[in-house]
Symmetry: C2
C-alpha cells in the first residue's frame, strides 16, 4: 500500500534475515531498488524506522499473547516462543525506550492486557512476571547461559514460583 510501510517491510526482512547491523539506509534502499537519500521522502530517519518496527513487534506479541491460553504457564511459554522465533525484532522492541509520543495509543496496554488477566488485575504482579519472562528471554538471546544449560528447568522454576504465589 503505502510506500512508507514498504520501507518498514523491507527493514524487517533485512533485520530478520541478516541481523541488526545489516539494516543500513543504503542496504535498505537497495532492497527497494532505489537510492538511500530517496528513503527520506517516506521516512524521517532511521530512528523512525526502528520505532515503527518496535510498534509492529509490540502489536504482534500482544496478539500472540491474547490468543494464547489464560493460564500462566501457557502464557509465558507463548511469550518465550515468540521471542525466540523473532529474536531480532524482540531485541529491537524490548531494549529501547518507547517513544510514547509517536506510538499509537493503546498498543502498550493491549500487549500488557493478557498478563494483567492472568494476575487478576494485579499490576505489580504482572510487572514481576513480565520481568522474569523478559529477563530469561533476554539472557537467552544474548547467549549468556552456557551452551548446555537446561533453560526449560529455569523457566519451570520461575513459573512454579509464581503459580504457587498467585494461587494461595
Amino acid at each position: 500500500m503505502n510506500r512508507r510501510s514498504e520501507v518498514v517491510d523491507a527493514a524487517e526482512r533485512i533485520l530478520e534475515r541478516e541481523g541488526p547491523d545489516a539494516v543500513t539506509m543504503r542496504r535498505l534502499a537497495d532492497e527497494l531498488g532505489i537510492q538511500a537519500p530517496s528513503l527520506y521522502k517516506h521516512v524521517a530517519g532511521k530512528t523512525e524506522i526502528q520505532t515503527a518496527l518496535q510498534q509492529r513487534a509490540l502489536e504482534r506479541l500482544g496478539a500472540v499473547l491474547t490468543a494464547a491460553g489464560a493460564d500462566l504457564p501457557t502464557l509465558v511459554a507463548a511469550y518465550r516462543r515468540w521471542a525466540l522465533q523473532h529474536p531480532r525484532l524482540y531485541e529491537l522492541s524490548a531494549r529501547h525506550p518507547l517513544d510514547r509520543q509517536r506510538l499509537a495509543s493503546g498498543i502498550e496496554a493491549a500487549a500488557a492486557a493478557p498478563l494483567l488477566r492472568v494476575t487478576g488485575g494485579n499490576i505489580a504482579a504482572a510487572r514481576a512476571i513480565w520481568g522474569f519472562a523478559h529477563g530469561l528471554v533476554d539472557l537467552e538471546l544474548a547467549n549468556r547461559f552456557p551452551p548446555d544449560a537446561d533453560l526449560d528447568a529455569a523457566w519451570a522454576h520461575a513459573i512454579n514460583a509464581f503459580a504457587i504465589y498467585c494461587t494461595p
Copy 2:
C-alpha cells in the same frame, strides 16, 4: 599502571558520564590527550575495550553480591541497586554475549556464586532468579515502565514468589 588499563578507565569515565554513543575512539583518545590511531598501540580495537568493561562490570557486581547478605531479598536488592547506580556499565555487561575466550576464567562463576548460595546450589532456580532480576532491571533502565509505576511493589512480588517457593 598499565597504559591499556588507562584506556579502559577513560572509556568507563566517558561511558558513565556521557552515555554509550559518546564512547568513540576519537573521543576516547581526546580524553587521554592522544590521537585515535595511537589507541591501537594498547588495544586491538573497540570490541576489546567493550569486553574489558564487561569484565569489570562482572567483577564489581560479583563483589557487591558476595558482600551482600545471604538471603534472597537483600541479594536482589543489592543487584538492583548496583545496576541502577551504574546503568551504562550494567547494560554493556548484560546485553552482549560473553567472549568466554578472552574473559578471565572464574569471573562468570564468581558473579553467579552468591545466587547459587541463596538457592542452596540449585542451578535452575538460581537462573530463574537471575532472570527476573535482570529483566526488571533491564526494563527499568530502558524506561519501559510508566513514570509513575510502583516498581518496588513489582520487585516485592517477585521476591515473595521466590521466597515462598524456595522455602517450602
